[in-house]
Amino acid sequence: MSTESIMKSGEVLFKDVYKDFSGVQVLQGVNLSIASGEVLALLGQSGSGKTTLLRCVNGLEVIQKGKIEVGGLAIQDPENNRGSLSKDIAKIRQSIGIVFQQFNLFPHMTVMENVCVAQIKVLGRGEEEARERARSLLDRVGLSEKAESRPLQLSGGQQQRVAIARTLAMDPRVLLLDEVTSSLDPQMTNDVLRVISDVSKDGITLIVVTHEMGFARHVAKRAVFMHEGVIAEDAPSEQLFENPQNENTKKFLAAVLSHQ
């Protein structure tokens, strides 16, 4: 085992991606190309397919048509590879971090063990090296004193920051964030957003699904609006928020901003 990433870069490519759940079309021809190190805000109404799109990137969902590439590697290519998912999917996932709305920390492990387990078992790092890395990441997310706590002893915001540290410990090239603050109260939300904003300077490709419009605008230079399974609008965030072109984007922003 080596800690070398098998990815050349953090570039993410969707080519005409189709996905349905037993007949219900959810992604209907998504074309999107994200440069390595770019920070992208992914917006859209509930049910537009944002979560599904993110989950396709690391193969938690399987697509029926089209192609998804990360760092030049075909993650999913159903037309040319009938099993659809790459054989190297586990190896590829090491370099694609994902953080979920519900944190999904391992409740039977301490915070420290949560951040170390994949470093040791997947990347093959030594125990001491892994703990050292975990300590510095927990410090970065402001939780060094919680290392020996269990996840359930932490607040939601603290758990989410541990989840981010757990993912960063793998040195991902791409980081997928799916409404990571949606189940948190405003104070905890700010703590988490501060961490993400800090991470966004690391040169990791970041795809951020969020309903925090102010944050999306601040953290991402580029924003895309998804509507009914396709990319309806793709623009620099300044422009998408100030001067949206697509009718659905306008409606969405009007609705969301009137709530904030």
Binding site: L60, L105, F106, P107, H108, L123, L152
Partner: protein, 243 residues
């Protein structure tokens, strides 16, 4: 009715304790074998392949829906008709292992299913292989969920071994009944047997309850009532707390 005296109780104790040791020894062997086999059967029950799930389900349901007494008689008295003769002790151990494997596999299956799918996704997303996810994430959590009910099954197994008296195994019940038929001191002997069972089993019920509380605190979910709807009577039908 015979009069219970200390001297009788003391006189019968060594014989009964000897029998109890037998009961507990058999229980220990059976529980170990059943846990191992039960884990395999549980994973077969959640298999993707119907050809694996089907037969295993049939076995589990057959055992659950026929009395242990009938099953033991079957193994000891009916199988020999078909040329399969097992020594009493072997028949007892095999019989109870078949029975408790079925029971425990249900416990383990439920425990495996209680581990959220999102836990597996989190593990896979970190680059773990499916077998690593099973080993590092699913099994440790499932084991915590399964342990308290497993202790409860151990408890019922210990009591069930009294059934082995009918196939001539010299466990506590068998020895007690022989003593009783010789001395006619049924009251004394059966009371003493009940008391000895209680002394072994009661601490196990406490252990099961403690483990359940501990693991639920740790995992936030588990096999016990804290995970289910709040007690109807404690909360009251309209949400108010009972005075």
């Amino acid at each position: 009715m015979d009069k219970m005296t200390w001297s009788d109780l003391v006189e019968f104790l060594p014989t009964l304790l000897h029998g109890l040791a037998y009961s507990l020894g058999i229980s220990a062997v059976v529980i170990v074998l059943s846990v191992i086999a039960g884990i395999f059967v549980a994973f077969m029950r959640v298999s993707r392949f119907r050809s694996v799930r089907g037969p295993v389900l049939a076995y589990v349901e057959f055992i659950r829906c026929t009395p242990a007494l009938v099953q033991l008689y079957y193994i000891f008295y009916v199988l020999p008709i078909f040329g399969i003769t097992l020594q009493a002790l072997v028949a007892g151990i095999v019989g109870f292992t078949i029975i408790y494997t079925a029971y425990l596999s249900e416990v383990f299956r439920a425990a495996i299913n209680s581990v959220a799918k999102t836990q597996i996704e989190a593990a896979l997303s970190l680059g773990m292989s499916p077998s690593q996810a099973r080993r590092l994430v699913i099994i440790p959590q499932a084991a915590r969920v399964a342990l308290p009910p497993t202790v409860n099954y151990l408890l019922s197994l210990i009591k069930d071994t009294s059934l082995l008296s009918i196939i001539t195994i010299q466990e506590i019940m068998f020895r007690g009944l022989i003593l009783a038929s010789q001395t006619f001191k049924y009251f004394t002997i059966l009371t003493e047997i009940a008391f000895l069972y209680f002394c072994v089993c009661f601490p196990l019920t406490i252990l099961a309850r403690r483990l359940e509380a501990k693991f639920e605190r740790e995992l936030g979910y588990g096999s016990g009532p804290a995970n289910k709807k709040k007690n109807f009577f404690a909360v009251g039908p309209w949400g108010g707390t009972k005075a």
